[in-house]
Amino acid sequence: MPFSFLNKILLLGTLAFLIPLIIHLLNKRRLQTIEWGPMHLLREAQKQKRRRPRLEKWLLLLVRMLIPVLLALGLAVPAIKHFGLFTGSPPRATAYAVDNSPSMRTLEGASTRLSGARGLLEKIGGDRPSGSHSILLTGSAAPVAVENDNPLAVVESEDGLRAAGGFSPAEALRRASAALGETDEAAREIVLVTDFQKDDWTGPGREAIRDALAEIRALDPSPAITFLRAGGSEEAASGSGNLALVSVEPSVPVVAPRQPLRLLVNVRRSAQGALPDDFRIELRGEGGALLDESDCRCGAGESTQVVFKTQFEKEGDHPLEVRIRTTDALAADNVRHLVVPVWPHLKVLLLEGDRGQSRLAPVDFLEFALQPNRSAGLQGVDLVSAGRVRYDQFNESHLRDVRVAVLLGAPRLDEGRLKLLTEFVDGGGGLLVLPGPDAQLSWYRDQFFKGGEGLLPAPLGDRERLSAGEGVVLDGERLFHPVTAFFKDEGNGRVSDGRVRSYYRIDETAAPDLATLLQLKNGAPFLVEKLHGKGRVALMASTVDPDWSNLPLQPFFVPLLQRLCVHLSAGTTLPANVQAGENVAIEVPREWREKEVILVDPAGRETTLEVGEGEKRTARVASESGAGFYRFRRPPGKGDGERVVAASLPADDSKLLSETEVATLVEELGVGFAGGLEDYRALDKDRSFGRVVWRWFAYALLAFLFLELFIQQWMARRV
């Protein structure tokens, strides 16, 4: 349809043309009738005037009927398509939705994809007729109105674009469409500038894009949509080769002051590209201080690992930055940020049962695993400081400053101690339960589990005893929990070497909120946990006894217990390391009594955040400013202290769609595609846009008002 209206409801106003018509008809009905003699005189008198007054009368009626019609049409914001046929291109509103994922910073030749896109968009903007509007949107920032001939001026500034985590084309299209809804032009276009990251355009993302396009196409006027490829394909990008820091993994999530920390750095090099094989990796601490560096070597298409060792003197959040010194295609993946929380010693209380006949009781194995340095009489520092007391002798004073309690081989607890332990967990403490051979299963089920209300995560079933030498191994594949995911890398210990000969059946069906940390190869749960109050309770199906399993003798046992204790002690502590784009949040320390905290984002901008109400006072914000450190501070003058959260880029952000895949994609989605400026110009030439022409109607309305007045005056003069 060559005509459309942006405000269709007002078209009803055109019915107002009926008003003068009705008045005319009413007047006609009110005529008086006279029976008359000298008709010939009447007729002769009328003869000269008859035709013209009648004509004028009809003309006047027509003009009067057209006036409300024009008014209504004007208010309904009419838009003419194919306008350019008469007057050249109409002004156009363009929303440039720019992919701001890190890969847009990939170097291609001398400039990044983003710089290439900037040059392209400047030329496109320059082609736009005068009076056009441009709006710039990045993945997550608010739309910004920009100069028509320099749409990406803002993009290049730090404010306009920082590499955020991911890019959602569907979301970008929706936001662009909403921004265009604010403009007057009927000629509207969305130009989506992207390098077509595979992850953004495949899977569930593709469906979301299709939905967003359907919504946009339902609009009237519907904007034209063009996907503009920023830079070339992956092949072109890899011309100069790329080194990527895939991950930096700390050996333990939390350390004590002066406790050695091992950082495992994984580096990958692209298959193509002419990069030198040798490069240097740096570890930098607070304020960019160089803590360590390492020369390493990596061939094309290979991966390599580097280990850094470090330790911290003081408690608190310690930011670390690992960086590859290189000039490769994509600088964004040459650095990773990490925060290592340093806690005071983690006090663990072992509530032991009867020692039995063995020379080494389970509690001895546990104590050794929790504080290996101290147990071996070494100089090294252990995070955990373990104490022990009999399960039937502990009292409130034993639990003071304890972060984790381990109930080991206890037959049962008396009521008072069960209550004491429950209060301890509810207050944020961690509890690990290892039922031994003396466990009274009925008490464990009725009092300790208590239908899901008690401390025990799940009821215990019968004890399974397998003959010596057989046993069942731990499942080394299903390692999804943060505590056990560390062991996915077998370099950190082979979980599947663990063999269990005797264990209690854990009835997971009776406890729906259960999280499984480890399970046996036969599918039976081995280590489970659940939240209770502010704390966590973990249950192991076996105990730490060589007769029951070989766990105490396995290399992974020490890190597993260490990580488990840190995990249990943290209660529901918020993560210190997140992926860019996710929320960063901290639990505000108790001594910070203010209702606000200051957030300093990676760009150095300060924002004031309100502290959430509730038992746990948290401050939360989306990591929109991309990768780096988000520092939470007390308001000025309120005292020192800082909490830091690190946001890192997704590990894998450089797989692009191939030319063929892009062609299939745009054909499937039915949108315009341009690989470059000439492509875009050719595409644009064939398009016809509309133009809002309400002004014409306003002028016509004015003219008709004058015409009505003129005709009336003229007719009056002729009487």
Partner: protein, 296 residues
Amino acid sequence: MEQTLPSPKDLEKIRGLQLFARTTAEGLHSGIHRSPLKGASNEFKQHRPYVQGDEIRKIDWKIFGRSDRFFIKEFENETERSSLLLVDVSGSMGYRSPGEEENKLDYAARLAATLAYILNAQGDPVGLATFDVGLREMIPARSRRSHLSVLCQKLGLMTPGKEGDLAQTIREVAARLKRRSLIMLVSDCFAPSEPMIKALSQLRIRGHELLVFQPLHPDELDFPFKRGTRFVNLEDAEDEEQVDPSTLRKSYLARLGEWQEELAGGLLQHRIELFPMRTDVPVGEAVSNVLAGRGV
């Protein structure tokens, strides 16, 4: 001609008309009277069929004896001038303002009755003819006193008829009038002026004298209408005009003036006098004005 018996209302109207004529005429009589010419001729002219009002003594009984039909024996009378009141009863004479009781024809009847009375009082024979599309009725001129009643009865029962055709009427009247007469036409003359003048001039050529009394309603003269009006032709209900009178008044009055001038001028060329009369002016006053200019 089919005639219905006059209703009591008609009878009252007739009596009223007669009384009106007498009182009006007698009020005018003194000083303006010209003695009627006397004399008779015994020269036989023709036989004609008897019509109501003819004197019994003029019936030719010999012919009655032969044919069993009444014929009147007429003689040439050169000294006595007879008059004919020729009253237009076409539709246009039926005009009256909304709310008015009397129309122009009623006015015409009073005028004709007054004139008849005057002439009858002088001893002049007076006849009456009414016409619309053609001659509707004709009563020959008689000078007897009682003839006035006959005339008044006819005048009182006149009703507006169809479209007027004066030319046709004149032809018929001319054929019927054997003697030169004074013809007093009472008509609004709402017809194109030229053919009317031409028709009336035919009567002049035949030696008749002509006076035209033109009763016009004030609405027709002033055109006072204001709001939108549908004018329906009194002589043809299907003929109508919708006009905005306020826009037409000026040109109507101009055209009326022109038409009156054409008519008066045209008639005067044939020595026919035109006396326009407003129907809101009393008949007595109107007749007095006419007689002041010309004795009847």
